[in-house]
């Protein structure tokens, strides 16, 4: 008898990190309009433009949602920031025709850090990030605008951000998109290719890259994160061909940073404790 043809299903459900970028853009533009204009009656947004892909994507979305005249892109270089970052941020401003400003943070940062000459790079980076947030909120006050956040899901899950700095703007369109999904969206929106293709960097120290800091590529981290968030055990993830060391690294980072994704822990003393018993949605 002839051998029957066999059609075999893939052993594992394929990863689902591919997005429909046009649908994502439409959804996120509607999100920005509803949350800013409809709910809060605020027509303007302020974005800290780093020269990286996250803030570029947010700027592109914001201009679609609010119009170029209502988007204030602010470059905030420190004296050690790379020239390339500043130029790439300018390329976004030029592409969008939005309002823009360059506010050097060196004097503010050094004003404090000269009192702390022994601060290590991590502390110095945190001071820079928190100073940038101070500027964004103050500029928002000045323009009757709202700061728009630019943190992506990968950095939020890995805890790779400064708490109450990068994560503090009241609205964030890309916080539920993994980094590799932000790249997909960036290409769709027409973010300059140079920005999409370069190695992501916090640019808080010389020659710093995210993937160097993290010890894993985003392409790998995102797939592992997706599996962890879907409820897969480490054994199941390793069975799909991922290195145990990579799975362990991602698992440790996510398990060690749950606190960074919450508001401060408040001692509960009553049965009217805020957000424990007294529960109201953010848009109420």
């Amino acid at each position: 008898m002839a051998v029957l043809p066999v059609i075999e299903a893939p052993r594992y459900r394929p990863p689902v990190l591919d997005i429909d970028p046009a649908l994502a853009a439409e959804w996120l533009v509607a999100f920005l309009r509803d949350e800013m204009t409809v709910r809060r009656g605020i027509r303007d947004g302020v974005i800290g433009l780093s020269g990286g892909v996250d803030s570029a994507v947010v700027a592109f979305l914001a201009v679609r949602a609010l119009g170029a005249d209502h988007v204030h892109c602010i470059r905030m270089p420190y004296r050690t920031s790379s020239r390339d970052s500043l130029d790439d941020a300018q390329a976004v401003i030029d592409a969008l025709g939005c309002r823009s400003q360059t506010i050097e943070i060196t004097a503010a940062v050094d004003g404090y850090l000269q009192l702390e000459p022994d601060a290590d790079p991590r502390r110095r980076g945190n001071v820079m990030a928190r100073t940038r947030m101070l500027v964004l909120f103050d500029q928002s006050s000045k323009w009757n605008a709202l700061p728009i956040g630019t943190g992506n899901k990968t950095e939020r899950l890995l805890g790779y951000f400064t708490w109450h700095a990068d994560d503090s703007p009241p609205v964030n369109p890309i916080g539920d998109l993994f980094k590799t999904q932000v790249w997909q969206l960036a290409r769709h929106l027409g973010v300059p290719a140079r920005i999409v293709d370069k190695a992501p960097s916090a640019d808080l120290e010389a020659n710093q890259t995210d993937e160097g800091d993290l010890g894993i590529t985003y392409a790998l981290a995102d797939r592992i994160l997706d599996l962890i968030l879907s409820g897969r055990s480490d054994e199941q993830i390793v069975a799909r061909g991922f290195a145990p060391s990579d799975v362990g690294l991602v698992r440790r980072r996510i398990e060690g940073t749950h606190w960074k994704r919450h508001l401060p822990t408040t001692a509960m003393l009553s049965n009217t404790a805020i957000n424990e018993f007294y529960l109201r949605p953010v848009d109420y």
């Binding site: 689902v16 990190l17 591919d18 997005i19 429909d20 649908l23 994502a24 439409e26 959804w27 509607a30 999100f31 509803d34 949350e35 409809v38 709910r39 609205v171 999904q181 409820g231 055990s233 007294y278 529960l279 109201r280 949605p281 953010v282 848009d283 109420y284």
Partner: protein, 298 residues
């Protein structure tokens, strides 16, 4: 039967403003050349869906709400008769439900033909309904001037047994007020949650030979975008009209109720089910297991 779906985008918690919007929509519909027989509005249409503890401040006593809606209709359309189905949070003497009413208004009179209390309260992931609300305990059909109908609210309609029971009990039209936060960007073209809705609603229409009228809430609530996507599906499984996910919208459709009999004569699955159902129900293995068989310990 001429049906309008109001895909509303309420302002969170601002009941008076949302009632005013409902009145404006009534005026728009009352001005149409052909009168509407039934107007269907989504789950939580007058408050928004995610209320947490504020639900106790915003829940309506059914008769008071019915009187307000009837009054809005009279202001817009005078003595013209209409039926209205609308989702709301219900305060039943201090017990709170996620409910939908079916109201008939004619001249100076109105009466509530039915109140369905949502039975499946999603309390997982982004959902937290049973923390604040009580479950409805019965799925009933009810008589209208257009024949028997049933209401299923949102997750009620994600359990195939619910439309099945409704149809077995005689419902010929299923009204599905819903508030569905969108998720899933991987499918292409539409959100995965929207595609899931389309798939289940169509399967119910075809299997039971019923019209399905789905009214979806729209607008973002604290980052969660409600996926509108209101639609009417006929008993053959064809979508008569469909709304986009985003934005407030009116959908209008004429339901040729005789199609129900035609569809059921072509594909008599409901009759077959009625014949077999007693055997299926007379089954000692249907007693729920404490632990579902086949569950794997991770």
């Amino acid at each position: 039967m001429k049906v309008a779906i109001l895909q509303t985008k309420p302002r969170k918690g601002d009941v008076e403003a949302n009632l005013a919007d409902l009145g404006a929509a009534f005026a728009q519909l009352a001005g149409a050349p052909e009168p509407f027989d039934l107007i269907v509005a989504p789950e939580a249409a007058l408050t928004g869906y995610f209320l947490e503890g504020a639900v106790y401040e915003l829940a309506f006593e059914t008769e008071l709400l019915a009187a307000r809606i009837a009054s809005l209709w009279r202001d817009a359309a005078g003595a013209a008769p209409v039926d209205v189905a609308l989702g709301f949070y219900e305060n039943a003497g201090g017990t709170y439900y996620n409910s939908a009413l079916y109201l008939h208004v004619a001249g100076d009179a109105h009466h509530v033909a039915h109140v369905h209390r949502k039975m499946f309260l999603p309390t997982y992931g982004v959902f937290d309904e049973e923390r604040f609300l009580s479950r409805g305990r019965r799925l009933q059909t009810f008589e209208t001037r257009f024949g028997p109908m049933a209401i299923l609210i949102c997750e009620d309609a994600w359990h195939a047994i619910m439309p099945t029971i409704a149809a077995i009990k005689g419902a010929r039209v299923l009204l599905v007020p819903s508030a569905s936060p969108g998720r899933g960007l991987g499918a292409g073209g539409e959100l995965e949650s929207v595609l899931h809705w389309r798939s289940v609603l169509r399967s119910y229409a075809v299997e039971h030979g019923v019209f399905v009228v789905y009214a979806g809430l729209a607008g973002f609530e604290g980052g969660k975008g409600m996926t509108g996507s209101s639609q009417v599906i006929d008993p053959f499984g064809d979508t008569l009209v469909a709304a986009p996910a985003l934005g407030a919208q009116v959908l209008a459709a004429n339901l040729e109720l005789a199609d129900i009999d035609v569809a059921r004569s072509r594909l008599p699955l409901l009759g077959d089910l009625a014949a077999v159902l007693p055997d299926l129900l007379w089954d000692s293995e249907l007693v729920p297991h404490a632990t579902p068989p086949g569950a794997v310990q991770r």
